[in-house]
Structures are given as C-alpha cells and as structure tokens.
Symmetry: D2
Subunit: 437 residues, 4 copies
C-alpha cells in the first residue's frame, strides 16, 4: 500500500471466490494453469490509457466529473508525463502486463505536425523507460483521428484531401511509435469513417480512399519491419450515423474486396457487437471462422441502451461464450483482451478505477473457468457433434468435398424419401451451459 | 369491369395526381418517358404470388382472415389452378407485366418428390399458357424451403444430410421451372438458413455447406443453359435469431470468401434493410457499389416494429432515394421491383388487393418523378461534387491511383499545414431533397 | 417412471447443483425454507396450458413441428379431454401445484356462444375432477380474445359493437369458470387491444370502451363473489403495432385515469418488459412501487430479437434481480410465477417439455438463493442506504413530509454552499451483485 | 441584408413552393389564414437559445466545431450579452416571435447562488429590453439542472439533500425570471432525473422526492402569480439509462399518482417519442387524449440511431400527422412549436443556422397545409367515423354511458350471433393520406 498515485491501494492479489474484498481477485489467478496455459496467457489483459487516464466523465449533457488527485485538467507535457507514471503504477498494482494507447491522448497536440511529433516522442521516451522498469508492453497503439474538428468528415474518408494527408502523416508516426515501444498490434479504429447522411456523401469514393490508405499503411509497416498485427475494429455507428466498419462481416467484405484480407485481423468489441444487432459471441465467432479473430475489446453495453456505454464486462454468461470461442481459436496472441471500458460518470473515487478493472478481469477469468468445465464435461460439444453426424457419412464427405452435384443429390433424395429431423435440443444446451456458470 | 375473379374492378388506368379514385394511378403512367426510358422500364413491377394469392391473414396470434370469393382454403390442384387464373387476371387489370413465385405456393406438395414435381408441372403448364395469353413473364422464381417441418433446422444449412439432399432436389426443379417459364432471375431466399442459438450450432460447417450448395446450383444453371441472374436476398433475422444472409455486406463477404462473387447479385428488400439497422437506401447503395444490385423487393416495415411486416411502400422520401440509386445503376434489368408486400391482416376486401398495389406502384413512380426533378435541377449532385473537389487535383488523382505512399503524404501534409474543412451542408441537402418531394 | 402420457419420465426430484441429470432439479427444492418461507411458497410456479399443450411449433413462416404421441391435431372435445389429462400428469411429475389456462385453448369453440360454453363446461368439469385428485389449482384463467377473425380489430376495443358484446359474454363465462375452479387470479391479456395505424383509429374512443368493459367486469366479479385478483398484462406491441397496455406505467395511467386503480394489479412478463425498452427488473419494480405487483410471467426474450419469443428464463442475473424485488414485495401471493414460455420450434422431443420447465424453475430458484445471499450479506443494501443518508436528517424528513417550500429550500441552499456529491459506486454494486451469482 | 451579426442574411420572406432560394420560405406564410387562424397562430414557432447560440458541435468523440464570428468561446458576462443580441437579430430576421431558454445557458454561473443569480439578472435585463424592441417573448424558460457535476445523480432526485436544495433555489429563480420576461410556459426537463443502475438506486424514494419538488414548484408559482403552464418533457433515456419521465403515459401516471394531474401539461418532443418506441404522432395523441398536450419540441431523430440527435424535422408525413392532432386540439396556445433542434456537427456556416430553421418551419407549415387538405376533403375522417358507426346506435350509447353490464351484454351477444367485421381499410387510409402530401 504505497506509491506516488495510489498510496491507499495494495497490489491486487488473488483471494478466491469466498473473498469479499473489493480490492482482490476472486477468479483471476494469473499463474494458475487452465487447459494447458496460464490464465494470464489466455487472457493477456490490457488497460486502455484513454479511458482510464483521459476519461473525464463528461457526456453530451454534462461536464467532467473526475477530479483525480494527480490531474490538473491541462493538456501540458508535464501533465502528460504525470499521467504516464500514474498509468504504470496502476498497471503494476493491478498485475496487468499490457497497455493500449491513442497517440493524442498520451501526448498533447502541438501547433504543427512536427511539434506534435516532438511532444509525442518526449512522452514515448518516458513510456519506454517505464516499460523497461515494469516489464509492461503495449498490446497495441493507435492514432486518434476523431477528436479535432479537422476530422469532422472523417480521416482517410474525409471529403478534404488535406485531411487525408494529415491522417497519413499521423498514422505513419503512430505506427513508428508503436513499433518503437514493442507493441504487438496496431489498431485502426473507424473514428469518423462513415457518413451522417447519404444525401451529401459519395460512399463509393470514400471507401476507395479508405482502401488506398490501408494499402499505404501496409506498405509502410513492411518497409519499417513492424511485425505487429494490423487490426480493424468494427463498430456500427456513433459518432456517425453509419460507420464503414459496421460489423465483422462488413469489415471482412471490405478487406476481401480490396485484396487486403491477409493483411488485417479484427478487434471485436462487445459493446460494438450488440449495437450492430449481434451478440458478442456471434461477432467473435464470425471473426474466428473468417480467420480474422485478432483481439477483443472486453466491455459491454446496456441491453436497453442504443449508444456506446463502454461498461466493464460483468456478464458471466457472455464471458463464458466468448472464452469458448477464444479457446477454439487457440488463444488470441499476439492479441489479447483490452479493457476498452470506462467508469460510469458518477463513479468518482480513485478506488473505483481498480474495482472496475478487477470486476472485468474476474468476469473473464470466471468465463475461462466455466469454459474449461464445459469442455472437460463434454456434454455441450457432444450435442453439437451429434447434430451433424449424418454429414460424417461417405455421402456427407463427398458433399463437403465439393462433389455433390444436383443430379446426384436429387437421386439420393428420391432414394431416401422423407428425411427424419431430430430435436434441436436448445433448452438442453442452455441448461447444460447455465449449469456450468 | 368484368372478369371471372374481379368483376367489380376495371383495368387500372393513369388519371393523374388530381384524381381521388382509389382504383386509378395518380403517378404511375406506364408509357411515359422519364430520363430516356418508359416508367414501366425503370420500374419493371412484379406481383408476389405468395402474398397476394396465398396470404391468409394468419399471424402468430391469429387465424386466417381473408375469405376471397374464389378460395376454398384447400391445397388441392384444382384450387391451385383457380388461384393461378386469378393471378393472371389480377396482373392484367393492374397493368403489371411480371410475377414472382415460390414453387410450393403455386402447387401442392405431394407425398414424394416425384408426386410433388408432377403437381408442379401441371400448374406450371397452366401458368405458361396464361403467360402466353397475357404477355406476362416471371421476374423470378424461387424454392420455398422453410414451411415444412423438415426444414426446421434450415435447408442447405440443416444439420441433417437428408434435408440437404431434399433441398437440392427441390432447388434443381425450381430452377428448371423458372427457366421453362422464361423467368429473368432466380432468388435464393435464406428461409431458415441461420441459427436459433450458437450453443447447439456449428456455424462454420453450416456456412461451408451453404457454399457447396450454391456452387452446385451455379454448375447446374450453366449446364441447363439458364441465363437468368441468381439473387441472394439479405435478411437479418426471423424466423431464426440470426440469418446467415444478414445484410448486403454480409452476403457479399460470403460470396467473396467462397469465390462466388461473380455468380450472384442481391435482391434488396426494404423491410429487411431496416430490420438490419440500415436504411433501405443504404442497402441499395451498398449492393450497387459492390456491383451486386440485382433486384428490389419493394416494401417497408414499421419504424417502431421489430419484425418483418412486409407493408406496401408508402414513404415517398425513401422511394425517391431508392430511385436515385436505381438511376445511378442504369436501372435494374434484368431485375425489377417485386411487391413482396401483403395487405394488413385486417384488410379483407377484394378491392384492398388492388389498393395496396396501386399505392405501392404510385409511391415508386412518384419517387422516380422526384428523382428526375433532383437530377435535372442538379443542386444536390452539385453539393456532393463540390465536397470532394480537392481530390480532383493532381495529388488527389495520384492517391486515387494508388500512388500515395505514407512518406509522400507526410511530406505534403507538412507543407500544407492545418487543412481547411468546409461545412457538410447536410440541412441544405435535406432542404433541397425535401423540396423535390 | 410410468403414466399414460409420459411413461419414460420420472417424478422430477431435487438432486442438487452437482447433478447433471437433465430430469432433476439442481436448485429448486420445494420444501426448503429460504428467508422464512418454503421455496414453493416464494415461487408459486404455474404451467401455461396454451404453450405446453396447445403450442404447435408453427411460426409465421412455418407449419407445426410438434407431434406429441397423444395429439391428433384436431380440436375435438375428446382431444381436449386427453390434453387435459396430459396436463395434470405433467404437472404432477413436475411437482408444480398450479396451472393457467385460456378458455378457448382448453375447449373447442362451437357454432354459437351457447354451444361453446357447453363445450367449456364439459372440459372444466374434467379439470375440476383432476384438480381434486392432484391438489392442483389454477393460478389464473383468462379469455382468449385474439385468435378468431372476429377479434381482428380487438375485443373490448374493436370498432364493431358486436365484437364488444361477444367479448363481454366470453369474459363473463371465463370469470365464472375460473371462479368455479378455485382460480386465485384472473388475467386480462391485451390480445389485439391496440392499433395497427393511427390513421384509421379513434384511440380515445377505444380506450373509453376498454374502461367501460373493465368496469363491467369488476361489477360482475363482485356480483358473483369472485375474490381473485384481476390482473392486466402489459405488452408493448405484437400482434398490433401498438398495444394499449404498453408497459407497467402506461397500464397504471389507464387504471388511474378511469378510477380502476384499486381493482387491478399487473402481471409483468419479462419478454414484454424488454420489448418495451425496459429491463424485466425495471417493470417489476415499477409495478411494485405503484402497489400493482400481482404476478410474473416468467420467460425471456432474445436480447437481439424484436418480437415475443417466450423463451424459458435462463438468465440467473435477471432472475436474481427479480427475486430481490419479489422479496421486497413480501412475495407474490395470491399471484405467482407462470411459465408463459414455449419450447423452441425445433425442440420436438417429449422430454424437452420437462427440460424447459426444469431449467426455468431452477433459474428462478437460483435467483432466490442468490437474493438471499445478497440480503444476508447486506453489502448491496448498505450501498443504497448510505447513498440517501443525507435525507435521513431533520431537513430531509421535513422535505419528505411535504414541508419543504421553495423559500425555505433556497435559504438552506445558500447556507450550505456547494453541495458535496459522493461516488455512485455502480461498479462496486455490480461486483457485489455478480459475486452472489 | 444588414445587422451586427448576420450582415449577409436578409429578412426571410415567403416566396412560395417554386422558389429555390435556400433563404426563403416555400410553405410558411405567417399571415396566411388556414382553417380560421393565421399560420403563425397555429404554429407559434420558437427558437431554442441553447442549441442555436450555445451549441458548439462537440460530441462524445469530438471537440467543438462551430466558430461563429461573434463567439469567443468564453463564458463571460460580456459574451453572454453579445449572444443575446445575436439571438434577437436572428429571431427578427427569421420572423419568429418566441424564444426558449435555459437559465445557465444565457448567463454564466458564479461562485455562489447569489452571484449566479446576479449574473442572470443582468442578462435578463438585456433580454427584456431586446424583447421590448422586437415584440418577442419567451415561449418558455427552464432551469438547466444537468451540466454541472453536482447534478450527476440528478437534481430533485439526487441522492444528496444538498443538491435537492440547490435545485429548488435554481428553479425558484428560473420561474421568477420566466415570469418577469412574460414567458407563457415553464418547462421541467428531466435532465438526469432517472437512474443508471437499479442496483444502487431507491427508485421509489427518488420519485417521492420528485413529487415533493413539483408540489413546491406549483405552490411557488401560485404564490408569485405566474400563470404560465408548467410542462413536463418526457424522454425515455439519455443521459441516464432510464429517465423517470419515460414517455407521455409514464409522465401522466406520475402526475396522477401524486395528485398533480391538473397542474401540468406535457411538452412532447418528437425525437424523444421515437426513442421511447413510439411515433411522434402517437405521443402527441396520447398527450391530447389525456388532456395534457401543452407544447411540441419540433425535431426528429434518425430512424436507425439510438440516441438523441435533435435534428430539424424534415419529414412531411410526420409533420402532417402531428398537425392533424394539433388541429384537433384547437391549437397549442399558450404552448407552441419550439425548435429543440441543432445543426449537425459538420454544418459550420452561419447560413446553416438559418437553413436549418427555415427547413424546419417549412416542414411544419407544409404539414399544416396538408392537414387542411385532408380535413377539407374529409375522406380520411369519413373512414374513421364509418368504422365505429355501430357504436352510434342506442345500445352503443348505453355502453358508452356506462350502462352495459355483463349480463345485458351477454344477452345481446347471444341474440346477435356471429358479429360481422369489416375491413380496416388501412391501405386506403394510407393512400388518401399520402395523396395529400
């Protein structure tokens, strides 16, 4: 219980499910081995700098509410350094080995690109030093291309050429910086890449621009030898009416159309999934079976709310489904679980920062434990396997191999007569699933 | 005012906007030339047999309400023939040259595939004769693969091999029949291709099966020389929780992943569009810029309702936006506008059948007239053109040609300094648009 | 493991959380005492006859799928009797003491009201006998006023006087029958009381008619000495675009406007709650604090789906919140938990009927156990109490007593200066809540 | 074309539908008489100071974008005066006679309540002078109780007594100021009166507090002789997860429960209506038939978007339905139509301020003209009247008078036999409605 920023908070330790200490883990036990890997290897947690250290509590109807003791509210270089030190103390006490950042949120923008880049370099140098002291690295970095008014029509999809240029310069630098810090991935968040109204928008031209931009980014990444994964983060809307990276399938279609499918993976955010009309599990699975599951932004929305609330994930059932997919995927590395989550505006105690993250980490850890239980018991996967067993026949194999032409199939159908169809056993599957929670 | 089925209804004629005769067109004037084509060529209307002649008014909470004078409610061959004659009298009086059908809705299912096919042949022979008498052809045909319990887990994506076989046999026949009748397109409607719960579903395997099925259909189409367009109809959900052809982008991703992108186009339905969280205009545009705009199912949902209501399109603003896209696409041929719309359950007069279709046709005709006005005035397209004019420069051209690498772009960004960003003029665009309605 | 209908199914017994027998309770232990009452007294479970014995698996796109061994699919009196016997065998094996029914679903409609009532009497006599043999009673009865085409514009709110008369006759009989069977409540489900379009509807007149109808029902109930509670079941939409009993607050406003507030309580259905944009917990609490919490229809919808799916409740977190409210309410008696839930269309095994109900019962039982844990630990209620403690002061008491006029309050505000506002501790509350699951 | 703030903008004049001048009215002709009243008397337009003069273009993801020439971005008294002068020049050029204001948005907050009130008095004195010069008055005033962090848990429903006191002091002053300026109404906007999570909330106690607060406001209004109407503005959510004034029916229930129903009316906002799952027309009608239609906030949301976008109303069909209700209500006076609407973030030209308002005013004016056409033609009201004509009989009259007891009704039902039910004619109603647009 010491430190410059969080003197009242101890290192967060695992105390097990019977603990009712809010500043302890009940389910996350970093070194414990589950299905052949340590929990920390399955989960690869990361804290999002922008929410945790730049989130103010402001909303469309209200002013900032957070008054952290170290914070003067300014955007100075000194303040940026203070925050960076707070970030690493926080990570260390929380026992998390990775962080994620937006360029403009860690360092103040200057009057010119050069000045801005110099500011960024100064902060990044500090981050590098703190990383080395703590053995913490970036899960990913990104460029923040949405806050400044210049981005009001988008960045790579802005109607203004100058903004496209500016964005390229900024992304170029952000990739360099992520590379320098040893980041394992680099994320393209859609920001304002989308439209407010089709009446004043040339969607086709904007999408072409976005593809050109991504191609240039890929070329540059290769040129400088950055081996991290490029990630696109689907989101259906907000701040625009329609974001071009609507959901996993939409993003995959874009990547395929422009020949970029092998250069990118997806960063699935649970709150974005539900805003697009899908369950989080659906989006994770869609990414997985398209070979695109790269990272998960672990948060959740409110099921009754139509905007991005970025709450800490607290739903154990959803977390269990997500972990079932992650295990099928063999894990997420070099991706991980980033807490793109923020405290409620009304949560204003310093300890709330820890409580939110602990609860989020415990939720996923519990999901991992439940997924193990389901996998080891095998009842659920048995239901699935059994449902498709007729395709494990010779004819099924021929069809799956692409040898089932319509004339053959018709002949077989006539021979077979009325097919028998078994119960889907959904309630049984739900019962088994729920029993593992 | 004569005929076997609609003796009280005259041929529907154009009377112009000042008419208040419910059985006349106020905006649709088939032979009138708009932007170089006759209205009937732009619009290529079609009536959906299943809604108009098999819709009963039943809903999940209630029994059928329709008691058409010619209908005995049975599924006999004789009744099927009577309905087919009613269909062609209806089309003729309405002045519509195309119809769409589901195989099982025009002819009764028999005890075996052979018997079912024989029934279908008998009805199709009658349809052929009636087509020849009236100069009416199918806009498209399709196979109805969702009503019978055998399809409860899907058709091409059923967990049961026997159902896959059955579906292949049925689709094979439906393509043959559509070909025989001179159909211009063939539609794959997702039916129950999707899932109710991921817990008991192997989504990847089901999607693979769907791809194999489509490949076989393409091969068979080529074999028999059917030149009509194959269409996929996106729908996000209902009857399943999640339909695999969720929206235009999802369908495009599927087609690209499995190498089928050049073999299919899309049939965009407005009600499905809004259920998937998009405007109808968005889905039409997404299909268009992916080169996939093949047909439009002209209907609409209720903006406050979360299921497929299949109402006749009555929103002139939406129709105008859709027609702007259709004109950009150079029309829809060989596709058209199919009224996949049904009377409300409570609309039980025979004349309501005409009123619904007339109102739907007038809505799109009015949309076409408004689109012409907008195009001829040019104010709206001028706003769009002006917004992107910075990309019409030499540097813009280089970027669009793929020659804008990050180092060049950064150099240009530094030279340019802070980019100037103009107003998006959305309210002006909306004002201009609305003034044309 | 015997019986006429379910020979393969044993009496369902409590085996505890470690059991993986699908035909056993893991959490529901009827006689176990929790917070001073037996579980069966807190939960007062009921099976819904219409779903469990009349649900066919049909949906708007598909035919029936259920082929129960005892079912011939007819609507004969004999079939009605067979179903009724199956119902009581099912209840007995499940260990549930209550059932709910719709008049038309237990007995076939005749050609006249008299014939229909005679049919009903015959079945009710059998039910009475079976009730006596099993010690089972109706939790509630109701009149089914939505399936027949005569109700297409509503029942009490139909635009046709004749339908209003018919509905009154039917409700009169349904109340008599419920009274005769010892039913503890009588439910008014909105059916088609609502509108499809405001353009052809006089909403004010329809609501006035509904009020007149309810007044007459209250008068008749008193006349015949029926002491059961009258319940209104809020639902926002479906089958109509807008149901008049939209949600708990809307129903309460109606009752207050027409002076009926003391004559009715509410039957909150979780799936209806979420369709109206509220959590189930919100609707239960709204009913409770309006003094209207009478019964709960225990089911759930799909969070991504916009229609009434009536699934068995499987969400332990939701169940725990609901049980916290029910405990605050001192229980639900004479109401209870009715399983207004149906098997998925694809669940076609007889054992699925048991599995669905067992899982639903266990979910609520687990909710009750979790609620006890939260109440006994006290951390959650402590957070709430502490938040409002400033109102437990003298001035707070004056304000709450209605003595806080604006001049006094302004004076106190000026004296106080800037108020201090504490953290809302939402994440802590969520962590505590989740730890109890 | 002169003035201090808008030198390039002329007085906005009516030029008729054929004009394509963006700075002219095409449909709104203030002095033209429609159905016995001038358009300006039916419409009673008002500009919202907060959006038009304090809206910055900031959103949850981005910084302000507006850089009006007169604006220095500060919150000084001088700047407040400048804005107030700009407001009155804007109103005059636009030809609008009313404005609406939030106290904190017209004058800067000081360090104490006294200082804040002194600031407000200084600005209000200027407003009074400008009002007299221009013959403009407030449609309504209100207190802004949501922006400052002190209101993070609500105002009258805050868990902190001190905030309740502060809010009372602020509302007291805002009522006084509205009274002084001759405001015709006073609005209570829910602000943050609601909850983020039921887990940490005592909803019943909060609602009791809100009722006490309203009672005190009513008492104070009477004491000072303010005769304006008190208005509650329903909104379902945002900024909270659940706002207590969810929709019209919820607000009415609250008012009835606490005996306040005769002291308040409702201010219906179209965007709030659609966010609560209703059409704007539904909410206006619900308010009307509860005797509570007091004012309309004329805006609209995006049908695909789940948050409050406050766009200028551009949907002529919606406007026509709203005007049909307003005409039925005999107008809105002393309420009116307030433009609670803001320019899109990307609309940054000064002329956009005029264009947005002109388009909004023209939309409602066009709605009024269309409503007149429908009323004068009479076809639509004839459909409605005819539907209910069976209740215009003697028996219908008895029932409507409350004399239809169940025994009488049953007797009549038996006599009548199967009721005949006519077509609802919805498509015809929609066709007639659409033809009037």
């Amino acid at each position: 219980c010491e430190g410059e920023f969080f003197p009242g908070v101890p290192n967060i330790l695992y105390e097990g499910p019977s603990s009712n200490n809010p500043l302890a883990f009940k389910w996350y036990n970093a070194e414990e081995v589950i299905l052949g890997k340590k929990m920390k290897e399955w989960l690869r947690f990361s804290v999002a700098f922008w929410h945790t250290f730049r989130g103010t509590g402001g909303d469309p109807f209200g002013a900032p509410t957070k008054a952290w003791p170290w914070e003067d509210g300014s955007n100075s270089l000194d303040m940026a350094k203070t925050r960076m030190r707070a970030n690493f103390e926080f990570l260390k006490k929380l026992g998390v080995d990775r962080w994620c950042f937006h360029d403009r949120d860690i360092a103040p923008e200057g009057k010119t690109i050069q000045e801005t880049n110099a500011n960024l370099d100064e902060i990044v140098a500090l981050a590098k030093k703190l990383q080395e002291e703590t053995n913490i690295i970036p899960l990913w970095g990104t460029a923040q291309l949405f806050h400044h008014p210049r981005f009001m029509h988008g960045a790579a999809t802005s109607s203004e050429l100058g903004v496209y240029l500016y964005s390229a310069a900024q992304v170029k630098k952000a990739i360099e910086v992520t590379h320098y810090l040893g980041g394992e991935n680099y994320v393209f968040w859609g920001g304002r890449e989308g439209y407010q109204s089709l009446l004043n928008t040339d969607m086709e031209r904007e999408l072409d621009h976005m593809a050109r931009f991504f191609e240039a980014a890929v070329a540059y990444k290769k040129k400088i030898g950055f081996n991290g994964t490029f990630l696109i983060e689907p989101k259906p809307q907000e701040p625009t009416k329609h974001q071009y990276d609507w959901d996993a399938a939409t993003s995959a279609n874009f990547l395929r159309k422009y020949g970029l499918i092998n250069e990118f993976k997806l960063n699935i955010e649970c709150n974005h999934a539900t805003l697009s009309g899908h369950s989080c599990h659906h989006e994770v699975e869609t990414a997985r079976i398209n070979g695109l599951l790269g990272n998960i932004d672990a948060n959740s929305g409110d099921p009754q709310v139509g905007w991005d609330t970025d709450q800490f994930m607290m739903d154990v059932a959803e977390a269990t489904m997500v972990m079932l997919s992650v295990i099928k995927n063999g894990g997420l590395a070099p991706g991980g679980f980033n807490f793109d989550a923020k405290l409620r505006r009304e949560s204003t105690d310093v300890e709330d920062m820890f409580i939110g993250h602990i609860a989020g980490m415990d939720t996923l850890a519990r999901g991992l434990r439940n997924a193990r239980k389901l996998i080891e018991e095998g009842q659920l996967s048995e239901i699935v396997k059994k449902r498709y067993k007729s395709f494990d026949s010779e004819l099924g194999g021929e069809i799956e191999a692409g040898n089932g032409d319509f004339e053959l199939l018709e002949k077989k159908a006539v021979e077979l007569g009325e097919p028998q169809v078994a119960s889907g056993k959904q309630e049984l599957a739900e019962m088994i699933f729920q029993s593992a929670l």
